[in-house]
């Protein structure tokens, strides 16, 4: 089995699951947002291609407010921010795009390029996190729920017809469900990741007060994990394990709790 073929299979699998997710979302939650008014995706891209990056950013942001988010939209928005020299917002939107499309090579390439250009270290991920990033959280969730559904059906069928193999299938499906839940839990830790976006350097203070001493500073575009909140400050942990308080306005979480 070649790597390309495996990649193709994964892509098809992802498309199928995305379709399921779309149907589920439409059935339960309704359409994401109303249709956009005014700005279109093409117009925003046209502004970008003509070098009007500020206009492109405005158009993409307007589009996101009116229609919601998509991986290409976030990727293009990140490109526009990168062209404007706003590293933090660029990294943030690449990260968000990766939440929706974790295996997109364009996103990975541009995110790596922007980080390298800004001198930001790429986050080190253990193997289980890299594996968890094979699919998006939505895909993993749907894997899990599908596994549990199948387990229930197999269990009931086995009970009805007294077939031992169906009990085995139910057990396997349960195992799949539990495994995917584990993967989702690993990925879920990313939800608390945030990116320094507001200023070139954000001082990390020892306590959540403006007058508190600052020992280190975080660079724009650097990723941190939010581990606490107090007033206008959030407690963060950077990639080296250092902890401290920064102004909450200086960071934005990758996956906001509210759309």
């Amino acid at each position: 089995m070649t790597c390309a073929r495996a990649s193709k299979m994964l892509r098809w699998l992802d498309h199928g699951i995305s379709l399921m997710a779309a149907i589920l979302a439409l059935g339960i939650a309704g359409p994401a947002r109303a249709e956009s008014h005014g700005t279109s995706f093409d117009e925003a891209n046209r502004s970008y291609s003509e070098g009007h990056y500020a206009d492109a950013v405005t158009d993409f942001e307007t589009l996101a407010r009116s229609r919601g988010w998509s991986a290409p939209l976030l990727y293009d928005l990140a490109n526009a921010y990168a062209q404007e020299g706003k590293v933090g917002l660029s990294v943030l939107n690449y990260e968000r795009a990766q939440v929706l499309a974790p295996r997109d090579p364009d996103i990975a390439a541009n995110l790596a390029y922007v980080r390298a250009k800004a001198g930001l270290p790429a986050p080190v991920q253990p193997w289980y996190q890299r594996f968890a990033r094979t699919f998006s959280l939505t895909t993993w969730t749907l894997f899990a729920i599908s596994g549990f559904w199948l387990a229930c059906v197999a269990f009931l069928a086995g009970r009805k017809w007294r077939v031992r193999r169906l009990f085995h299938a139910a057990a396997f499906a349960t195992l799949v469900g539990v495994s995917t839940v584990a993967a989702a839990v690993v990925l879920d830790q990313d939800l608390d990741h945030a990116v320094i976006v507001e200023s070139k350097t954000a001082p990390v203070r020892v306590s959540p007060f403006d007058t508190a001493a600052s020992e280190v500073a975080l660079s724009e575009g650097e990723e941190v994990s939010i581990i606490g909140r107090h007033g206008d400050f959030v407690r963060v942990r950077d990639g080296q394990g250092r902890r401290g308080w920064v102004q909450s306005a200086a960071v934005q979480v990758v996956v906001p709790r509210r759309s």
Binding site: A25, D42, G68, A109, L156, V255, S259
Partner: protein, 619 residues
Amino acid sequence: MQSNKHAHSKLTAIGVGALLVLGSSAVASGAEATAEISPSQIALDQAAELRVAAGDDGRTAVQHVDGLHFQRTGQSSEMTNINGATSQHTWVLYQVVADRPGSYSIPVGGHTLTLKVDPAGSGRAPTASGSRAAFPSAPDVSARQQGQQGSLALLRVVLPSKKLFIGQSVPVTFKAYFRAGIEVTLSGVPSLGISAFTINHMEDKPRQSVESIGGVPYRVATWMGQASAAMPGHFATQASLPIVARYREASQRPTADPFAGMLDDDDALSASPSAMLRSFMKQSAFGGAFGDVFGQVREREMTLHAPVQAVEVLAPPTKGQPADYNGAVGRFDVRANLAPSSGAMFAPMTLRIEVTGQGNLDRVTIAGLSSSANWKSYPPNAKLTQEGTKIFEQAVVPQASGRLELPSLSFSFFDPERNQYVTRSTTPIIAEIAATPAVTPVSSANLPKISPSIAQEPTAGLRPNQVDEGRFVATLLPPYRRSWFWPIAAVPWLGLGFVVAKPRVWGTSERTHRRALRETVAQHRTAMKRAAAAGDAFRFHEAAGAALRERLGEMWKIAPDAITSAEAAARMGQDDEPIVAALRSVERLRYGGAVEDPSSLTTLQETIERRLDQLENRT
């Protein structure tokens, strides 16, 4: 409406030709002269030129002819030297128009000329400028032939074809003629006057030249552009050109406006040809106005109108239309090349597609290469060169290594000359692609070399934007953090729990109870049969009594053990009922120790069986 416009054009043609003439309106008489008229046959909406040789006193002898009007338009002289003898001839020129069709005899001196006038529109084919204008299609030649000269300012539009297809681009020429001596400022560019047409590539500044019409010099401003039709239908051009004219007005005629009623006065157009012509002749505006250098200088904004032309716009046929046809009309050729010709996996390359030919290149669009397993492609950028080539440059990224083929790209267009669709294809391109790691940051060194004017530059190492907007979601939160998820996820578990816990929670159902009763009674009846067969009266009556009590208990909704023979007799009201008798026998056997005769068991069994069946049916 169309006929009215046509009539207006005819009237204006006559009026303009007659009014814009220098010289007096007098038709002289008395002198003997030779004469000629050209042409000798005209349409009612056209004019003929009459040349009359002036006498020694410089006068001519043109007599009045009913139905004809003569307008002196100028004078020419020629000298002839024959064998040393020099003679001079002076010709007076007249423009002749008619009120009605017919054959006219024009007596001039001792000669009689004949002029045949056909109904309007039946004469020679209208020229490119239409019948309304005093100018034919080639003013410097035909005007002299037709004697239509003398206009102060005119606009003419030339379309090479009266039948176009949507999207077809044809050259259009606007020519504005101004008499020498008139100071004219252009306050705009000419327009075709049809919303269904667009004019592209029109020059902002016209080319200027001088043309002589009937010996009269005219300054000519020429604009050239490309007209393209946007919707089907029958249309009439209403070309116009806004100008500001400055002219010197004769002091003795302060109200005389040389342009009044001539260029943009609809009232003048509504009059009959002859009436309008006479009106213009009476004004005789220009002869006096420009001859008087002490007159007042006036400035007036006005709009020149060209004669109306009918144009038909057709939609390209739907029959035989290729699937990839996107509106290009003309004759084109297409070719493609890849730069560099070889590369590395995931390293962007540039596919350049060139479309050349005749037609509206603005409407030429090419989707370019579609993404496939071997190639990832980005939308092409297009530019139009001054040489008339449309170039599409597309970034393509090989997704595999080895000898990869870029498939041929097709481009379809409609050829209006052949009236059919044509599809052209590029030659497939083979590229040698070396293997490299999959996802590596793209450096500016290996970006596609797209020309700066059209590329999505400065990309500076960034991969280009994605153009497929993708599927939109309201939030990035995973499903399990949304409100609708857990009810959905809980459904199978709830169902499973319901199925497993149902008997315990809700107890035995009525149906289950009846099934259990039926099974119990069936067991007692089986025992009863066996006892009867074995001649065991005690067991027989025990089984029969149990079966009867079960059935009666179900029917009376009391506990089976509470049923006695007395209870049954009381409820059934019959002492001789076999059921009551059977219960008494049971009680006797159980409590009295009586011994039943086994010989009657078979008969008793049949009776009890029958009564049990009746009870079961009743319940």
